[in-house]
């Protein structure tokens, strides 16, 4: 008995880190060797930005149990704040404007998180819609945010960190990848801390949480702030690294739903879930369009594609909610376990 408990930590430490380290090696070393520009521009960059947004929403919805339909608004705040900090403060390093942008999104998130102190579930979700509409309205209405550009569409600044420019699709990929890795590590630390346990306690039983001394109100607001911080930075990546332009239109309610779906399909309250979900959301339309035009030829035009995407995605979400509420992550773990026992047996 005592030998077993003694041996455990020494054995578990490397095992726990083996998978993430493998993925990191593939992402940093393997992918750039193999990938084409198309892979980076159309798949990996949106994947990274959406994964990060999903990660942020998962802190709030998955861990702390507060439903939000305002994710795209917080992305927009992040993107426009970073643009303006960068534009209006001379010589401000990009990383600093990104952190400030995250803080701006956190601040707005905090404000729109205030209703969570009184509202729950469906009612809270509806109240977060206010963030969605208000932010989009403000960004369109006040052209100062877009530096008075006539079209409201502006070019994103170059991605450079202390003199080193991340150029081209691969450069922007490395930039986004590094930002995502750092924030993922921070999020991982957060959800495994006392604060992370407080999130889950508030989600599962507010009264019990309050009784054992969890500061419930503070915990909820913190979840909104931390989540919006991460989502804000995801917005910066979306605009600066993926699209290379900053415009309010891309951060609409559809995007908010997309991020919510990423979290539901990937797996609530799981760090990996956001990546699984984002991978599916990004890759699935491409697969569908290839498959559609291969099977149906010209009939499968963009209108049909768009409609079939929505139908299949809707069906997928319903299926996941019913059959696998813990998302792709749970599915993946189950498959892996089965393969594991199969190989052990043979």
């Amino acid at each position: 008995m005592s030998t077993i408990t003694y041996d455990l930590p020494a054995y578990r430490f490397p095992a726990r880190w083996a998978t993430p380290l493998t993925w990191l090696a593939i992402a940093y070393l393997g992918v750039p060797l193999l990938g084409s520009d198309y892979l980076f521009e159309a798949i990996l960059l949106p994947f990274l930005a959406l994964s990060l947004a999903g990660l942020g929403l998962n802190i709030l919805t998955g861990y702390a149990g507060q439903v939000s339909l305002g994710s795209a608004a917080f992305m927009a705040v992040g993107a426009f704040a970073a643009f303006n900090f960068n534009l209006r403060i001379d010589g401000l390093p990009l990383i600093v404007s990104m952190v400030l942008a995250g803080l701006a999104a956190a601040g707005i998130g905090l404000v729109f998180g205030l209703p969570s102190l009184r509202l729950k579930g469906f009612y809270l979700a509806v109240s977060t819609l206010a963030a969605q509409f208000f932010v989009q309205w403000a960004l369109t209405k006040f052209s100062w945010f877009s530096n008075d550009s006539a079209s409201g569409v502006i070019d994103a600044p170059q991605l450079s960190v202390s003199g080193f420019a991340f150029e081209g699709p691969v450069g922007r990929y490395y930039f986004a990848l590094t930002v995502v890795c750092v924030l993922t590590l921070l999020a991982y630390r957060l959800v495994n801390s006392q604060t992370g346990r407080n999130f889950i306690a508030v989600r599962e039983n507010e009264t019990a949480a309050r009784i054992i001394g969890v500061p419930v109100l503070k915990t909820k607001l913190l979840a909104f702030a931390a989540s919006s911080f991460v989502i804000g930075i995801a917005g910066v990546l979306w605009a600066f690294a993926y699209l290379r332009t900053v415009e309010p239109a891309g951060f609409n309610l559809d995007r908010s739903f997309q991020i919510l779906f990423i979290v539901i399909i990937g797996g609530l309250a799981s760090i990996r879930g956001a990546f699984f979900g984002a991978a599916l959301i990004v890759v699935f339309p491409l697969v569908l369009s290839r498959l559609g035009s291969f099977l149906l030829g010209d009939i499968f035009n963009s209108g049909v594609l768009d409609m079939s995407q929505r139908i299949v995605l809707g069906a997928l979400i319903i299926l996941f909610l019913i059959l696998e509420p813990d998302g792709l992550v749970a599915l993946w773990d189950r498959i892996r376990k089965r393969i594991g026992t199969a190989t052990v047996r043979s």
Binding site: R189, S193, Q194, R197, E204, T207, G213
Partner: protein
């Protein structure tokens, strides 16, 4: 309150009433009794009345709990037992009356301060955090001791680290004490009911409370599990000097475990005394035999 004088010693009354009562007795006895009461009760309910819409759950409840005793509250379903614990823990706000805790009177006990006031509780219907491991469910019982900010916790140095190690080692100790070490890694929601009840006790105990409120901790348990639980409750009191307020239906358990028993019926306290005294009380016998108390028509449920 005027109902059950016969079965009572004077100590169970709150200080004010105690003084008043003592004034009726001889002067020699008064001084002794008063001092003993003031220093020895850790929790008092004074004239607590609670209703939900038209339903009166508690009527003029006076109750005093002495340091280090195990007080059982018994009574039929719907008598108001859980309501008493919910009033003490601030989950319900009484219409009238007060709760005295750590020497202060509260019209509503501030729930978010409860742990810091030295009170921990369990729930009649389990209130574990099902998505956390058993160990984490107990670790989080130290939430009221957390001082570090979330940024310190992310960095994981300094006091955040000390708090984390401290909470973890205390939680492991409590799991060991309650023979739960073997399930520490399991998700709390996956345990059998009896073990979940025990994890709730662990989460309450790790806070090192002065007062432990247990709402039917043995309900739904097998005889063996009940015996174990009785042992744990008694051990917790003997080891940490914790005062225990316990709601329990099993009269055998109650009589064996508690120092004092309060009996509720239709939201009124109808008896309060040692197990022996209460067992001989006619009113209690009536309530348990299902004979309706004559003066309470239209009240209660």
């Amino acid at each position: 309150m005027t109902l059950a004088f016969g079965a009572l010693g004077s100590a169970p009354f709150p200080p004010e009433l105690q003084e008043h009562l003592a004034g009726l007795d001889g002067p020699v006895r008064r001084d002794d009794e008063r001092q003993a009461t003031v220093s020895d009760t850790v929790l008092d309910l004074v004239g607590v009345t609670l209703s939900f819409g038209g339903v009166v759950a508690l009527t003029e409840i006076d109750l005093s709990v002495r340091r280090g005793e195990i007080l059982a509250i018994i009574g039929p379903n719907g008598a108001g037992k859980s309501s008493i614990i919910n009033v003490i823990s601030g989950v319900y706000q009484p219409d009238r009356g007060q709760v005295r805790l750590s020497g202060r009177f509260y019209a509503q006990v501030p729930t978010q301060q409860l742990a810091r006031l030295g009170v921990a509780r369990t729930f009649q219907n389990l209130a574990l955090f099902k998505g956390l491991s058993v160990l984490d469910n107990v670790v989080i019982g130290r939430a009221h001791k957390t001082q570090s900010s979330f940024i310190e916790q992310i960095v994981g140095l300094g006091r955040a680290r000390t708090e984390q190690t401290d909470a973890r080692s205390r939680a492991l100790d409590v799991l060991d004490f309650l023979h739960l070490s073997h399930v520490g890694d399991r998700l709390a929601g996956t345990l059998p009911y009896g073990l979940q009840k025990r994890v709730e006790l662990a989460r309450a105990l790790v806070a090192e409370p002065d007062i432990l409120l247990l709402d039917e901790p043995m309900a739904g348990m097998t005889a063996t599990e009940k015996n174990e639980m009785v042992g744990f409750v008694r051990a917790a009191r003997d080891r940490f000097g914790t005062t225990v307020v316990l709601i329990e239906h099993d009269i055998g358990v109650v009589m064996g475990l508690s120092d004092r028993v309060a009996v509720l019926d239709y939201g009124r306290k109808i008896a309060d005394g040692t197990p022996d005294e209460v067992q001989r009380d006619q009113r209690v016998i009536d309530a348990y035999l299902g004979v309706a108390p004559e003066n309470e028509d239209g009240e209660g449920i």
